[in-house]
């Protein structure tokens, strides 16, 4: 089966320091892949390359066979994507950020309807109805009218998940979704992600929560120093890592 996401030979450096050194990873449709690894290993950078929040110097990424950052000419040649084309690619890729990044001047409901109404051109009433359903699905029925500053971190992150889902994306990316949260709010956000995983959404989750990864992921990849040092079914990676470095990381985290 054609992978939902194919990352091949990805390389990137910041100011001469190589942060991605040839990363390759395929994600099948409906699969949940968790990326673990020490800070500074390149996990978030790789994730941000998938929706072009970062550019990369070598390699390629396709999402459902569509090369991100490029458009195909009629004769099959690739050409750099226009701003508009890139926006079209990004709208099919949902993303949830560590710092939530809710639109601070909009209410929870408006945060969720902004994309469907302004980008997809949906009718406002229909978009609002769907947004209320999405907010209900993450347990925020009574908070639709509130601004982000009036919500707890866990509530904001759940609105962010509803906002991403409102675009009906093909894939969903999570960049350390619980790292900025107070411990008391982590559980409710993980519950929301768990529900999405069960619904068959294709997801890539960068996380530090080993136990959550074990439970929710089909596969786990461990990244360190800009490379994937271990990748396979969750139980194998966490219980029987093949490399000494992966084993050291897993043991330290447990």
């Amino acid at each position: 089966m054609e992978p939902a996401i194919r990352i091949h030979g990805l390389r990137k450096s910041f100011k001469g320091v190589e942060v991605l050194r040839g990363v390759s990873l395929d994600v099948s449709p409906g699969e949940v892949v968790c990326i673990l690894g020490p800070s500074g290993g390149g996990k978030s950078t790789m994730l941000r390359c998938i929706n072009q929040l970062e550019t990369f110097e070598a390699g390629f990424i396709t999402v459902h066979d569509d090369p991100v950052g490029y458009a195909r000419r009629a004769n099959g040649e690739l050409v750099e994507a226009s701003e508009r084309h890139m926006a079209g690619q990004r709208r099919r890729i949902g993303m949830v950020f560590q710092q939530y990044n809710l639109f601070l001047h909009l209410t929870a409901l408006q945060n969720v309807t902004e994309g469907p109404v302004k980008v997809l051109g949906q009718n406002r009433a229909a978009a609002e109805k769907r947004a209320r359903d999405l907010l209900a699905s993450v347990g925020l029925t009574r908070h639709a009218h509130k601004y982000p500053s009036q919500l707890s971190g866990g509530q904001q992150q759940r609105v962010a998940i509803a906002r991403a889902m409102a675009m009906e994306p093909d894939i969903l990316l999570f960049d350390e979704p619980t790292s900025a949260l107070d411990p008391e709010w982590v559980g409710e956000v993980l519950d929301a992600i768990r529900n999405l995983a069960r619904s068959g959404m294709t997801m890539v989750i960068v996380t530090h929560e080993l136990n959550f990864a074990r439970e929710v992921a089909d596969r786990i990849a461990i990244m360190a120093d800009g490379q994937i040092i271990e990748c396979g079914p969750s139980a194998d990676v966490l219980d029987r890592p093949s490399s000494a470095r992966a084993e050291a990381f897993v043991r330290r985290r447990n």
Partner: protein, 311 residues
């Protein structure tokens, strides 16, 4: 000066209560407020000086208060007030639009656009406003005719510069072009005050960079931009008095035209000043309400329900 401060004894602190005087019938202990003698003395001195000054000015026959009263609503003065308001509003509006465009250009990754914006800001902040007013007014000396055409064709439209550049248009152009440089800096700082994550989130839901700037960043930048723009409005309002050097038809020009005839210089300057103060006071009130409205998405901001953490 023996106002009382109620002290509510803490519940469960009966042991402490033994050290306090007995409670009154409201269950409250009172303590005398210490008089602020220094503050009282300073207030008395200041009020006395102020009263003396007001009295001196009020009874000074040279101020010609009766003339001030006669001319406060003189038709020419009122026309000048309207003219000054038009001048200021048009100039600030034009400057704001230009400033937003310049700020957007400054953020551009195209080096030609960003350098142009930087050059514009440098140039028009460096030139004194008075010089610009006189230059615009005398534009005909440099370009006797203003027009646009396509070289090599007979397509051309043009106007006599002296017909286009009246004192009023010269005044608006000078104020707007000068002010746009400051507006650009204000808008730029507003844009920079919005976290990068807001743009990233907007891109993620499929907006282009331009849409993200217009729909997500600028509305949030507005909250930071409004207070300095209020200040700039007041600055431009007062700076508009400079256009009297080219007979701009503003409030100060009207006052000057009147005292050129009746020699009531101070009285008419007082009339003009009174109007400037009235307009600025109204502006400040408007600014206050605008700021309040824009802060409604903040925690406990006006118009927003109080925060709570129920699920």
């Amino acid at each position: 000066m023996s106002a009382v401060i109620p002290i509510k004894p803490m519940r469960g602190a009966e042991g402490v209560a033994a050290y306090l005087p007995p409670l009154d019938q409201n269950g409250v202990v009172t303590a005398a407020r210490r008089p602020r003698l220094g503050q009282i003395a300073a207030s008395i001195v200041l009020l006395a000086l102020l009263a003396a000054f007001v009295w001196t000015v009020a009874v000074n026959k040279n101020m010609h208060w009766d003339v001030v009263g006669n001319y406060l609503f003189h038709p020419l003065i009122l026309k000048g007030v309207v003219s000054t308001l038009q001048l200021t509003m048009l100039a600030v509006l034009l400057a704001f639009v230009t400033g937003v465009v310049l700020a957007a250009m400054g953020q551009s990754r195209n080096p030609v656009l960003s350098t142009f914006a930087a050059f514009y800001i440098w140039l028009f902040r460096a030139l004194p406003l008075l010089v610009q007013i006189v230059l615009w007014f005398n534009l005909a000396l440099l370009f006797p005719e203003l027009g646009i055409g396509i070289p090599g064709t007979s397509l051309y439209v043009g106007w006599n510069t002296n017909h286009v550049i009246t004192p009023f248009t010269a005044a608006i152009l000078a104020l707007a072009v000068h002010e746009a440089a400051y507006m650009a800096e204000i808008v730029r700082s507003g844009i920079l005050s919005v976290p990068q994550g807001q743009t990233e989130a907007a891109l993620t839901i499929g907006m282009t960079r331009g849409e993200a700037l217009r729909r997500i960043v600028l509305p949030q930048a507005l909250r930071v931009i409004i207070p300095p723009i209020g200040n700039q409005f007041i600055m431009v309002l007062k700076a508009s008095a400079l256009v009297s050097v080219i007979g701009g038809g503003d409030l100060l020009t009207a006052a000057q035209n009147l005292y050129a005839v009746n020699y009531e210089v101070i009285a008419l300057l007082l009339v003009a000043s009174a109007w400037y103060m009235v307009i600025i006071s109204i502006t400040s009130v408007g600014q206050h309400y605008l700021e309040k409205r824009l802060s409604r998405s903040e925690r406990n901001g006006a118009g927003a329900p109080a925060a709570d953490t129920e699920v």
